[in-house]
């Protein structure tokens, strides 16, 4: 094992990968527990006891926290981002290698804090991943379990923030000569934008969570109101604003890397340039600019003034435009392409469909009248799982299948990967369309036993079907685990540029700095085909000018 003190971005990225996958598995198992309860209310878990109402609240709290803070962004930004960014821009390392190391170990410390909460007398945090006060103060969730969980969020947010600063500076300062902004792969742009959002909005999370911790530990009254406010009180609504001012940009942090990856992969595997690259970049920038201006659609039912409500409704609906442009550009990249259905490409296509549906189901949540009906129902849960879980997970699979040869020097089984990705996409759709339907029929979220309500009773068969599909989805992930395990055990060597593309991580072999001459998707260009007899050319590869040079290269 490399030294624990390593600052090498590739080593740390692989550490992020294993740790992140571990947390993803933990979060996924928690989801299975929730689905078990909703399918078989009151039945003992396999090999254990029945879930209690209190236990249920702990499970959905940990599930949300784990997935949002400890799985998706550490995997997409920490693992993939840290690994590919220097390689894609032609840099030797991240801008601050010691910061990379610090970020990772702070992430590990946060995980330790999170797991420690399981040993508290009253158990782990139970206020939901959103931790609304006063429920998340000592009144609603006594004991040090919730405190440890809130502290863990603070610590992991710090890790993310440091990583984001590192990535932003790396992209700004460490690009190789000739790697102009508009020659960057879309993946780099998306990671860059995601990191800018983290830098801007994580402080809001610090404030919100910090004040909750202060109320819990130091007896302050930022969020204590109502009957508790015996000596002047605070306002829990302030938390809602501060939390969602972070929380909404956070969902773009999670989806942006997926957008960038899909944009690149559809170009590389259609063997043609990305359609209207510039508009894709500007669309992502527009989302970044608007993301902090739409957050209060999470507060439509919290008593916002009508003026604010209308403003946020308009802005939220407007932010759908850049997302539509992204999707259309992906579609038009595929159009007239020469589509190779490799495992990364299938993952990207699956992500496209899952995100496409997820995105449009967000529209009624952005309009006040429809949101007031759907708020806190499973429609919301279906919507954000399609976008934040399905699309991001498929993007992660795409990245893993795509860069596995570079990360580990050996090949995954391509057929196994294709099957895994297609099955996962189909099952993601099945499970979360099921939730959309249940939410439309009125089922609320975070309910230990929704069938208490007569108007929901008839949804038990639907919930059972959703749970069975979810269990199947979990089992299908065994294909990924098996694939990775067998690849790492067999260590079958792989060619230097298995996907035959021009980006620097595959084409730049020497230790000298590359001189970049062109963009990331220069594929199927006639002059390249004439001169070199292939449909791709390295970003830093010189194109021979004369027929003499062509002959010299060919020999």
């Amino acid at each position: 094992m490399r030294g624990l003190g390593s600052t090498d971005h590739k080593v740390l990225a692989r550490r992020y990968l294993w740790t992140g996958l571990f947390m993803l598995t933990f979060g996924g198992l928690l989801a299975m527990v929730l689905r078990w309860q909703l399918a078989y209310p009151g039945r003992p878990l396999p090999g254990g006891a029945a879930l209690t109402p209190h236990g249920y609240t702990g499970v959905f709290t940990l599930h949300g926290l784990t997935m949002v803070f400890f799985a998706i962004s550490p995997l997409l930004l920490g693992a993939i981002g840290t690994f590919v960014t220097p390689l894609l821009i032609g840099a030797r390392e991240m801008a601050f290698p010691k910061l990379t190391r610090l970020s990772y170990w702070i992430y590990v410390a946060a995980i330790a804090l999170l797991f420690s909460s399981l040993f508290a007398r009253f158990g782990t945090g139970t206020a939901g991943w959103t931790s609304y006060p006063p429920l998340s103060t000592g009144l609603g969730t006594p004991g040090w379990g919730q405190t440890a969980v809130s502290l863990a969020v603070l610590v992991v947010a710090l890790s993310s923030l440091l990583g984001a600063v590192n990535l932003v500076v790396t992209v700004v300062r460490s690009r190789a000569p000739g790697m102009h902004w508009m020659r960057l792969p879309l993946t780099v742009w998306s990671l860059f934008f995601a990191s800018i959002l983290l830098v801007l909005f994580t402080p809001s999370l610090f404030a919100a969570t910090g004040m909750v911790l202060s109320d819990r530990i130091f007896g302050t009254r930022f969020f204590l109101a109502g009957a508790q406010a015996v000596a002047g009180g605070g306002d829990p609504a302030v938390y809602l604003h501060l939390f969602w001012l972070f929380g909404h940009p956070e969902v773009y942090v999670l989806i942006l890397p997926a957008w960038g990856l899909i944009g690149d992969l559809v170009a590389w595997f259609s063997r043609r340039p990305a359609h209207w690259y510039r508009a894709t970049v500007y669309a992502m920038a527009a989302v970044v600019a608007l993301s902090g201006l739409v957050y209060a659609h999470h507060l439509f039912t919290a008593g916002l003034s009508p003026m604010l409500g209308r403003a946020f409704m308009a802005l939220t609906l407007i932010i759908s435009i850049p997302a539509e442009i992204l999707f259309l550009n992906w579609l038009l990249t595929l159009w007239r392409g020469s589509i190779h259905l490799s495992s990364p490409m299938l993952a990207a296509l699956g992500g496209m469909v899952v995100f496409g549906l997820g995105g449009i189901t967000g529209l009624p949540l952005g309009a006040v009248a429809t949101d007031v009906v759907l708020h806190d129902t499973l429609w919301v849960v279906g919507h954000f799982h399609l976008t934040m879980a399905g699309a991001t997970f498929l993007a992660l699979c795409a990245a893993l299948y795509y860069w596995f040869p570079k990360m580990f020097g050996c090949a995954l089984n391509e057929r196994l990967g294709q099957v895994h990705v297609v099955l996962s996409s189909a099952l993601f759709l099945l499970v979360f369309i099921g939730l959309l339907v249940a939410g439309y029929a009125g089922q609320h979220r975070r309910l230990f036993d929704p069938y208490q309500y007569a108007f929901i009773e008839h949804l038990l068969p639907l919930n059972k079907a959703v749970s069975h599909a979810a269990f199947l989805l979990a089992l299908v992930q065994g294909l990924l685990v098996f694939n990775v395990a067998q690849a790492l055990l067999r260590r079958q060597p792989v060619e230097a540029n298995p996907w035959r593309v021009g980006t620097l991580e595959w084409t730049h072999g020497s230790s000298a700095l590359p001189l970049v001459l062109r963009g990331a998707h220069e594929l199927s260009q006639p002059e390249v085909e004439r001169a070199l007899g292939r449909d791709w050319i390295g970003q830093a590869e010189a194109l021979p000018e004369s027929p003499d040079e062509t002959e010299a290269l060919a020999s």
Binding site: P53, Y132, A227, L331, L523
Partner: protein, 252 residues
């Protein structure tokens, strides 16, 4: 209301005078979603078949025409779908959801104060004297009665954590935040017993914080309200501070 079968997956029964507007928006949107999903999948499937490995890829990134297509489709969808949601929603907000002026002036409006707490709903009517927090206020727990066809204005407070008062059959919900008073109003168009749900996680028994809203014929309601006010007056205990959780009615 008769129980629904497992495949009856539409919105809950609509008992609200104003529900039709919202339901139309939701149904329209659900149709769009299915249509767009179908279109997306069909387009991608077509593209995968038509432009497979054997097809020679076009080297041209984009043309002016293809860019205009992107802009046209994106704006088209925005205007059609987002536009429908925006204007439809605005209509709902203006005529009902965030419009309290009409009902404030209306003498027919029934006013009810709601105290949300872990894990039940307390209801308070003004009683015969028309003032809240007075001895003749009828009080009830988890059950509230309202008349058919008259506006009912709920004012809500919470004493402990954030709850949410949800009336699925009336297409409305509002979070109830300690330290604040929230407002919501409905008008029933159907008699019957409908459920009240708590839709904001508020602790271990959040799932059991269920209430019942009964819609009565207007005359039955008046009769009940009179009797309830009288009984409340006689049952009132001035020594019990727990009964005096009400507050002077606030203007929205």
């Amino acid at each position: 209301m008769s129980p629904r079968g497992p495949l009856e997956l539409g919105l809950p029964f609509d008992a609200s005078t104003h529900g039709a507007l919202v339901d139309a928006l939701l149904a329209e949107n659900e149709r769009f979603d299915f249509l767009l999903l179908g279109l997306m999948v069909a387009l991608i499937a077509f593209v995968l078949v038509r432009f497979g490995r054997r097809h020679k890829a076009s080297p041209i990134a984009e043309t002016r025409r293809s860019r205009m297509l992107v802009v046209a489709v994106a704006l088209g969808i925005f205007v059609l779908i987002d536009g429908a949601l925006l204007f439809g929603s605005e209509r709902v907000m203006r005529t009902w959801l965030w419009n309290f002026e009409a009902i404030e002036a209306n003498p027919q409006t029934v006013r009810i104060e709601v105290n949300a707490h872990q894990w039940a709903w307390d209801f308070r009517y003004a009683g015969a004297d028309g003032a809240f927090n007075s001895p003749d206020d009828p009080l009830s727990w988890n059950e509230v009665r309202i008349p058919l066809g008259r506006p009912v204005h709920f004012q809500l407070a919470s004493t402990d954590v954030i709850h949410a008062f949800a009336l699925p059959n009336f297409r409305v919900q509002t979070e109830v935040i300690p330290g604040r008073i929230q407002h919501v109003w409905i008008e029933a168009k159907a008699l019957g017993r409908f459920e009240i749900a708590c839709s904001q996680h508020c602790g271990a028994s959040h799932y059991k914080m269920r209430g019942v809203l009964e819609v009565m014929a207007p005359d039955d309601f008046e009769r009940w309200a009179r009797t309830a006010s009288q009984r409340a007056g006689t049952a009132h205990d001035p020594e019990d501070p727990g009964q005096r959780w009400g507050w002077a009615w606030r203007r929205p």
